[in-house]
């Protein structure tokens, strides 16, 4: 099995799709010569040329909208929104147009566009370059939402996003780009809507996305030292949500922690908690714990940033609360 970084895995999915399919192309700010602000598309200009690796002006509405328009005409564009924060600029086109065109047309249209974006704290960019806004988009019928956490998942899920006939908002986490992991020799598409059980356990289920998956795996290791057996599940796709896998895990362990880097209040975890309490009410032995960022914009000073966003310690504390060992 080859080993790729998360960054290389994203690039591999894009490049492989573009090698075999003329309809796939990428567009975004600084993605050509510069290779993207995260280096994800480095080298792709040389291989595919500027027609298919399209640098755009700083125009999120137009770049998102042009990708949608091209998709309406049968292309499979992948638009890179440099930072999730800038999705707010593209939101009109993503939310009012991409998500609803098929519906408003009574099923006449398909919009096979992918919006790749990234965010995440841990490097002190301040309040406008590291938000986690996935909850904004899971709330919109018509969009699919993916948040991949490992090289294998990001490659297989991006492939599925590109070839999905619906608009997909595809979240990557900035701090995960350098992590390495084994991937299959050939790209194996991972179906959108299927969670992944990373670690089996008996006492409590931690449902975690993005960077918090890795923090949760660390917390699970530490909990094991305290005699707590933790199951860790990554939904991987937030919309549609693999409720079955999450619920069956919680029915087994009888306790749940939901963890993400985004602000806890009104976050994706609130929906997961609602799904669990409704479908597994009789199985629950403790209140469902939620772990996420405190209700604050991201601050600049590292000590404050560290305080606002959650880490393995917060996940471990939540795990312990569910089993009455806090």
């Amino acid at each position: 099995m080859p080993e790729l970084t998360y960054r290389e895995a994203v690039r591999d999915a894009l490049s492989t799709a573009m090698r075999q399919d003329e309809d796939v192309f990428i567009m975004g700010e600084d993605i050509a010569e510069m290779g993207g602000s995260m280096g994800v598309t480095a080298g792709m200009l040389d291989e595919f040329g500027k027609e298919r690796v399209r640098n755009t002006p700083i125009s999120e509405m137009a770049l998102a909208g042009a990708a949608i328009g091209a998709a309406m005409q049968g292309m499979r564009p992948v638009a890179e929104i440099m930072y999730e924060d800038f999705l707010t600029l593209a939101a009109e086109q993503v939310v009012n147009q991409a998500a609803k065109l098929r519906y408003m047309s009574g099923g006449q249209l398909t919009v096979p566009v992918t919006f790749r974006t990234q965010g995440g704290a841990g490097w002190s960019p301040g309040a406008q370059h590291a938000q986690q806004l996935e909850a904004w988009f899971v709330h919109i019928p018509g969009l699919k939402v993916v948040f991949a956490s490992t090289p294998e998942d990001v490659r297989g899920l991006l492939w599925s996003a590109i070839y999905d006939d619906n608009p997909v908002v595809f979240f990557e986490h900035r701090t995960l780009y350098p992590i390495k992991g084994d991937v299959p020799q050939e790209i194996e598409p991972i179906p959108i809507g299927r969670a992944r059980v990373h670690r089996e356990g008996e006492d409590v289920t931690v449902i975690a996305t993005g960077r918090l998956l890795h923090e949760s795996l660390k917390a699970a290791e530490q909990a094991e030292g305290d005699g707590i057996s933790v199951e860790v599940v990554d939904p991987r796709t937030l919309q549609p949500l693999d409720e079955e896998t999450l619920v069956s895990s919680v029915k087994k362990t009888n306790r749940a922690v939901v963890a993400h880097e985004a602000v806890t209040r009104m976050g994706f975890g609130a929906e997961v908690a609602a799904v669990l309490q409704y479908q597994a009410f009789d199985w629950l032995d403790a209140p469902i714990e939620r772990v996420g960022a405190k209700f604050a914009p991201l601050p600049f000073a590292p000590v404050m940033e560290q305080f606002v966003v959650p880490h393995a310690e917060e996940v471990l504390a939540a795990i312990k609360r569910t089993v009455g060992k806090a």
Partner: protein
């Protein structure tokens, strides 16, 4: 169809018929809305028929349009049957958007209508993108956006036209300048009086025509489409138009001088203009009127006899 730069004399009668059909259709829409039969809220383009017909007549098979909240005329001119349009306004399955869209979301993908848009300027980036797809695939097709003067102040307008020119995609941006952004006059929404100047900011080819003169619209649209199709880049087509009615059906237009509105309707009616040019007598015009009125009446009958969607159909067509 042979390539022409102007409308042939022999076509003008048909053009008049098409504009009159749109006029009578929209008058019927006003009537049925006031009678309480049509849900939602509606915007008619009465007075602006020449823009819809002149531009759409100039299109080739394969060209696509994106429209606005004032979309009935564009939709009919692009080939949607009046029955399907009226059925949509009644919220029926037989409608051109199968009851999912309504007046502001009219689609007819098979006939090259990418959709009307209820967000001012919302369709402009989509047109740039459609044109990009045509360019990348080497297809000799053009994507056309209709929009009003109010849209020239929104970000999508500037971003989409800038990108279209930057990439020289085959698009035509048709500004139907009726001097009103809902109730706000152009003098209150734009610092410049001549909106065709907007094209200069992008280095885009600009053309101007009297939007109330269908022959002038056709000629300018032809030029614009030829330019875009030949790979020379997009065109900004400025049409000087008149909105005879209010922003929406029922708009009391407290913001507008009634006499001026009446004067414009009397002096700049595109239908009257063409009728006079064709020297159509009263009897001939009455025959034409009867013919299109019957089509409109039939569309109402068709729509009323249509099928209501099941409530739970609301959960279909969300995902492909």
């Amino acid at each position: 169809m042979e390539h022409r730069t102007t409308l042939a004399k022999s076509d003008l009668h048909d053009v008049l018929r098409e504009m009159l059909l749109i006029r009578r259709f929209e008058e019927k829409v006003e009537e049925r809305f006031r009678a309480g039969e049509l849900p939602g809220f509606l915007h008619v383009a009465i007075g602006q028929e020449a823009s819809a017909v002149g531009v759409c007549r100039a299109l080739e098979d394969g060209d696509v349009i994106a429209s606005t909240h004032r979309a009935h005329g564009h939709t009919l001119a692009k080939g949607t049957h009046p029955n399907e349009l009226m059925a949509e306004l009644y919220g029926k399955q037989e409608g051109c958007s199968h009851g999912y869209g309504g007046s502001m979301h009219l689609f007819d993908v098979e006939r090259g209508n990418m959709g009307a848009n209820a967000v001012v300027g919302g369709g402009l980036p989509l047109v740039t993108g459609a044109a990009l797809a045509f360019q990348m695939r080497g297809e000799p097709r053009v994507a056309v956006a209709f929009f009003g003067d109010g849209a020239t102040n929104i970000g999508t307008f500037h971003e989409a036209l800038n990108l279209a020119q930057l990439w020289t995609v085959p698009a035509v941006f048709v500004l139907e300048d009726n001097k009103w952004a809902e109730s706000t006059p152009e003098s209150q929404h734009s610092p410049i009086r001549d909106l065709s100047l907007r094209a200069k900011a992008f280095g885009m080819k600009g053309l101007k025509a009297d939007g109330q003169d269908v022959e002038a619209v056709y000629k300018a649209a032809r030029q614009a489409l030829d330019h875009a199709r030949s790979g020379k880049g997009p065109v900004f087509l400025h049409l000087d138009c008149v909105r005879f009615r209010g922003h929406y059906i029922g708009d009391p237009q407290v913001y507008r001088d009634k006499d001026e509105a009446r004067r414009l309707a009397e002096t700049r009616d595109p239908i009257t203009r063409l009728r006079e040019k064709l020297q159509l007598g009263d009897d001939e015009f009455a025959d034409l009127d009867t013919e299109v009125t019957e089509i409109v009446e039939a569309s109402v009958e068709f729509a009323k006899a249509g099928t209501d969607p099941a409530p739970e159909d609301a959960l279909k067509n969300i995902y492909a």
